[in-house]
């Protein structure tokens, strides 16, 4: 890991100066992300409990299952994962380019607007204004705000990138820049064709699937892989094994990810060729995962034995494992021999949770700790919180994915058997949903550790700024922090 006192020979900028330039925007994004993770998991836990205790709080429309469930996914995807991804984009582009973050006020404004957009979106979904398309439930007003927030953050990132001193592009750059480009494309195409000026008939579902699949692969997964390719050499203490293999994996992801959208619509009311194209592309995504896995294994194999290991290493390891399992299980779900059994079951919910909490959630959490330790307080990664977060997160994500995948497999058999009464078939999944509820509880606890660790680190490191801000606002120094600031 680079020392914070390291000086850039080209610009004379120290890491400390670069880190400080990112502080406000990264702080808002990371604290916002951890807060949304807790809120999202509260909604997720509630939705899971309501699946096996359907009478819970059924007098209140705001918390009915059909509203809480999409609100949960919105909070997790756009509130939690996207914000850590944006923080990673800002910080990594500045650090890798050896340049101060450009227009930090714009990035701060964008981060605030992004959080407002997620809040408005979640409240609108819970108020019954969902668009009705999976993972695209956020109504158009909130989506417009979100795009506005993105624009401000991305503008800061692009100007920073253009001004970079270190002209080489690192592997992380490819994924992060591609993700920055993909997001507005997906938002505009998805919302224009499914919500604002909807296509006719089932083409709306195709546009919705195009958006949902793109957000998962070209936004969330690309951000996570960008962060992973940054953290991997830091953890191993050696450069990434093969830039060519990484480039191959990158292009496999970029070219095949969007095409795989229609593999979600297996059995759907569409011509076979559309779904077959999606399935073929899904199979080709194996190339991307294989390239990443090969690079991961080769790089860690070459890791210096005496290297000081990054705390983020465990997060990257588990996230990488989940990435490979997720890709394999996604492909398994498209096999003609098992897809009739697995389609429309909890199996695909399990894979979605594996991707969100196992793969992207873990890698991006590792990135959040690494960035916080650099930007705020190095001691942030030394407490027991990070261990608690990791182990609870591993068990929580693992339990939910296991319960849903297994439950989906069992569900497929009973749902496809007309001899089993429908009510019995539905009751058959309750035990799996109950297991998943326990997983949500563990994940919620893990995210509470995450939020606590981040808040402690940020508050500790920004005592001076906060004291100055209080003095500026009220004319009276913040008494509680005065002594810490002086210290």
């Amino acid at each position: 890991m680079a020392s914070t006192s390291q000086q850039s020979s080209a610009t004379g900028l120290s890491d400390e100066q670069i880190n400080r330039s990112c502080r406000a925007a990264v702080g808002i994004l990371l604290i916002g992300a951890a807060t949304w993770a807790v809120i999202g998991l509260l909604l997720g836990l509630l939705s899971s409990i309501k699946m096996h205790v359907p009478g819970l709080w059924d007098l209140c429309p705001w918390v009915s299952y059909g509203r809480v469930r999409p609100a949960f996914f919105t909070a997790i995807i756009f509130g939690f994962l996207s914000q850590i991804g944006l923080a990673s984009v800002l910080w990594m582009i500045a650090r890798l380019g050896r340049v101060l973050l450009a227009m930090p006020a714009l990035a701060v404004g964008g981060a605030v607007l992004w959080n407002v957009a997620v809040l408005v979106g979640v409240l609108q979904i819970m108020g019954g204004m969902s668009t009705g398309f999976p993972l695209m439930e956020m109504p158009r007003h909130a989506a417009s705000l979100l795009l506005g927030g993105y624009t401000l953050v991305a503008l800061s990132a692009f100007v920073t990138h253009r001004a970079r001193v270190e002209r080489n592009l690192y592997i992380s750059h490819w994924f992060l820049i591609s993700a920055l480009f993909a997001f507005p494309w997906l938002m505009s195409v998805g919302y224009m064709l499914a919500v604002v000026e909807p296509l006719r008939g089932v083409m709306q579902s195709v546009a919705g699937a195009y958006f949902a699949n793109g957000v998962l692969h070209l936004w969330i997964a690309a951000l996570a892989l960008g962060a992973a390719y940054y953290l991997l050499p830091k953890c191993a203490g050696v450069p990434t094994h093969s830039r060519q293999t990484a480039a191959f994996g990158f292009w496999a992801l970029v070219i095949c990810a969007n095409w795989s959208a229609t593999s979600q619509l297996i059995g759907g009311p569409l011509p076979r060729w559309i779904i077959s194209a999606g399935i073929s592309a899904k199979w080709l995504l194996l190339l991307s995962a294989a390239a990443y896995a090969a690079n991961y294994l080769q790089t860690t194999h070459k890791a210096k034995s005496g290297t000081q290991r990054e705390p983020a290493h465990a997060f990257v390891f588990f996230g990488s494992l989940c990435y490979c399992i997720w890709t394999l299980l996604e492909i398994l779900g498209t096999l003609p021999s098992v897809s009739p059994r697995l389609t429309f079951t909890l199996y695909h919910q399990g894979l979605l949770h594996l991707a969100l909490f196992g793969f992207a959630g873990m890698i991006l959490s590792g990135a959040a700790y690494h960035i916080s330790s650099q930007v705020f307080d190095a001691s942030i990664v030394k407490g027991g919180f990070i261990r608690g977060h990791f182990f609870l997160g591993v068990f929580g994500a693992g339990l939910i994915a296991f319960a849903y995948v297994l439950g989906g497999y069992a569900q497929g058999a009973t749902y496809n058997d007309p001899a089993v009464p429908m009510t019995d078939a539905v009751r058959g999944v309750v035990k799996f949903i109950g297991m998943a509820s326990l997983g949500y509880l563990l994940l919620l606890l893990s995210q509470l550790f995450f939020l606590t660790a981040l808040v402690r680190g940020v508050l500790g490191a920004t005592a001076q700024e906060r004291a100055a801000f209080c003095a500026w606002c009220c004319g009276v120094p913040d008494a509680g922090n005065k002594s810490r600031a002086q210290a």
Binding site: G201, V202, M203, W259, H348
Partner: protein, 219 residues
């Protein structure tokens, strides 16, 4: 790969290609489908929904019914949808021409609803099911949508309103559906993908050679 424009252009080309292949090309075929005139009945399929059913589609969207219910029947041999009686044939793109938004769903915790209007045309059944599914199906996991109803205590000797659900629904109370519940039920009653089409005839039963033949659409 040290050129930012290469990343941009490569990503753009990949996304534009997938957009053309998955959205533009299908839009030029299935996106331009029109309702079919069925010669036997002289009616167009799919028919436009009435005002109440159209309003009900928005209630269906707002309540997130598609989180648990699909509206797509898979062909015979791909799952047991037809064997379960959820439809007489597979659903095809043409079935959704009147839908806005299209709510095909992705997860089944409850049954498929593509043909619920044919399978269960009784409005009172649907209203009771929405009020408390477990009254009709003990053990059901469907949430209660009590907030779509007005529930008032019945005084002694007071006759319940004509719009109220049967007394057994909530003894001692009259349960009156709100307009949202009535609209939602009108929407559910309108769900019927049961007209044989050229692209989706009824499957031929193994024991019955005289299969139903799809009427040819009028050109």
């Amino acid at each position: 790969m040290n050129q930012t424009p290469l990343i941009f252009l490569g990503s753009f080309a990949a996304m534009a290609a997938s957009f053309w292949g998955l959205v533009v090309a299908p839009q030029n075929t299935i996106g331009r489908q029109q309702a079919t005139l069925i010669q036997d009945t002289g009616a167009y399929y799919p028919a436009s929904r009435t005002g109440s059913a159209e309003a009900g589609a928005q209630v269906y969207r707002a309540q997130g019914c598609a989180e648990c219910h699909t509206q797509q029947v898979r062909p015979k041999g791909q799952g047991g949808d037809i064997d379960r009686g959820w439809g007489r044939r597979r659903t095809v793109a043409e079935d959704y021409l009147a839908d806005q938004p299209v709510q095909i769903g992705a997860l089944r915790l409850g049954p498929d609803l593509s043909n619920i209007g044919r399978r269960q045309p009784d409005a009172t059944y649907h209203l009771q099911n929405l009020y408390n599914s477990r009254l009709l199906k003990p053990g059901s996991l469907m949430p209660r949508y009590t907030y779509l109803f007005d529930v008032r205590p019945l005084g002694e000797g007071v006759k319940p309103s004509e719009a109220a659900l049967p007394a057994a629904t909530e003894p001692g109370f009259e349960v009156i559906p709100k307009p949202e519940a009535i609209a939602l039920v009108a929407y559910l009653q309108s769900l019927a993908a049961d007209v044989p089409l050229f692209s989706a005839p009824f499957p031929i039963a193994k024991t019955n050679a005289a299969a139903v033949v799809a009427p040819a659409p009028k050109q």
